[in-house]
């Protein structure tokens, strides 16, 4: 395992897309120390900011407050990154495989346009999780993102496949222009959830303020959620699925597009 310990919080955001198992695997520690990073417009070396220890591996541990370190795990295809602390924007953007785990908070654009792999953040995250970059037609194409805390705007914007599960409250426009995939909101969301969604599923375990362009369909237990419940259980995330506990209210929309998406809202028995 390779361990990188941040010496101090950079004064401005540090762009460090070389912090990826695809780059570091097979490199000596000296070679890793010499990898380029960008502090503003200036090219610097990894060891200007990190102490590098350990041996060649596709397992990377990053220690320290990396809240201003951006693009960690960019386009990674394999391996494991463990961040003990916070992380900066664009974590795991474009990744297609491997796992990233963060014990602290994330920032905006976590897993943007990713196509595979797993990102797990124990704390809060920012907006545009799994989203499409501006000007891009499609966001997250596959993979899983788990956020333990809260999240910001436009979660899952234009996502096509994959799963985003968020434990804390989420801000406006979750699932904006969603094309497919699944967003799970354990603590609900603020306004305009599912706006302009074409396809896909948004599951909320708390009541949601729905737009009038979503139509009520039925209250039931979709069998497909059993598959999701089993999958998420293996990742430590609970999706209720017990007839004795309640059922899901299904709303379809966004009919203003018109879309074939669905919002499922958990309705506990007796509520």
């Amino acid at each position: 395992m390779i361990t990188l310990t941040l010496k101090e919080l950079p004064s401005v955001p540090l762009e460090a897309e070389v912090l990826s198992p695809d780059v570091t695997a097979g490199l000596s520690n000296d070679a890793i120390r010499a990898l380029p990073v960008y502090l503003g417009k200036r090219q610097r070396r990894i060891d200007d900011f990190f102490d590098v220890d350990g041996s060649s591996s596709d397992q990377i541990t990053i220690q320290g407050d990396a809240a201003r370190v951006k693009w960690i795990g960019r386009a990674m295809t394999r391996g494991h990154i463990r961040i003990t602390g916070n992380t900066g924007m664009h974590l795991g953007a474009y990744m297609s495989g491997g796992t990233i785990e963060v014990s602290g908070n994330g920032a905006d654009w976590v897993g943007a346009e990713m196509s595979g792999g797993l990102i797990r953040i124990d704390g809060n995250a920012g907006g545009q999780i799994g989203a499409a970059y501006r000007g891009s037609s499609t966001g997250m194409r596959d993979g899983t993102i788990l956020i333990g805390g809260s999240a910001g705007l436009e979660v899952g914007m234009r996502m096509k496949r994959g799963v985003i599960a968020i434990g804390g409250p989420v801000r406006d426009f979750a699932g904006l222009q969603m094309k497919g995939g699944t967003i799970i909101l354990a603590s609900g969301a603020e306004l305009r959830t599912g706006a302009w969604m074409m396809r896909g599923t948004i599951i909320s375990l708390r009541p949601l303020p729905l737009m009038p362009t979503f139509a009520y369909a039925a209250t039931y237990l979709p069998d497909v959620l059993r598959i999701y419940a089993a999958y998420l259980r293996g990742l430590g995330f609970t999706l209720p699925f017990d007839q004795q506990q309640g059922a899901y209210q299904r709303y379809t929309g966004d009919t203003s597009v018109p879309g074939k998406g669905e919002i499922l809202i958990w309705n506990p028995r007796g509520a």
């Binding site: 596959d142 496949r161 799963v163 497919g180 995939g181 699944t182 396809r199 599923t201 039925a218 039931y220 979709p222 069998d223 497909v224 059993r226 598959i227 999701y228 419940a229 089993a230 999958y231 074939k260 669905e262």
Partner: protein
Amino acid sequence: MARELRGVEIVDTYAEAFDMRVSRVIITAATEGWARTAAVSMTGFATSVIGCKVEAGIEAMLPASDTPDGRPGASVLVFAFNAEGLGSRLVERVGQTVLTCATTACFDGLPDVSERVQVGGVLRHFGDKLQSSKFLDGRRYWRVPVMEGEFLVEESFGTQPAIGGGNLLILARDQSAALTAAEAAVAAMRQVRGIILPFPGGIVRAGSKVGAKRYKSMTASTNEAYCPTVRGRVGIASELPATVNSVLEIVIDGVDRAAMEEAMRVGLDAACRPDVVQITAGNYGGKLGTHLFRLHDLL
């Protein structure tokens, strides 16, 4: 050279089996009863690939902990001669017997197999463009709206090489002894995973030979060499010892040779009961099948 097991002669011969393709279908439902109902319906009229285009049976009933959606289920094995035919039969059978059965869902039981046949990907059209799909962990599921709610079916099913037509012939002094021995063999063989016994109750009373001697259009006809009631007629080369008055056969299809051998081994052992005279196996002189199972190797 013949050998004996508990007084039953085990003939020095072999069962001759053929290459087939298999898919495993996992049916789940709200209760084990409904899962079984769907599985029994799906495996009906699937005794012989000659007449039914497919051979199918229930491999095992599954506890909720062993199914993809955490509900009670049944594992069904479906055999055909090629992947194309298997795909067509799966669409027909899942469409008519599982899609229509209350509370069921249908999953691929060979998810790691690369060769696939479309099942849900075809059945989705029943949804008349109101269906939707979900893609999770590399597998696509179709949600077809039905009056009860939704029918969930996996898009494609794996199909892999398999073996069909393994068999045991139980030759007994009378019908009762043959049936008792065959029932005991079936009970033992059904404990083995990876095999099915496609005939009613797992037992065949009407073993067949290829073609017919007297009707040229027949693809299969009665195996007169093992029919006691025509013994002694002119032109009949009976294979039956003088004391044998009833014969029952057990046909086995398996996902691989190991499963076939284990099933035949436990079945042969269980069938060696009082008043069973001989246990033998059907073959074509090794000319047709590529898989030979010598009975003495199973002892």
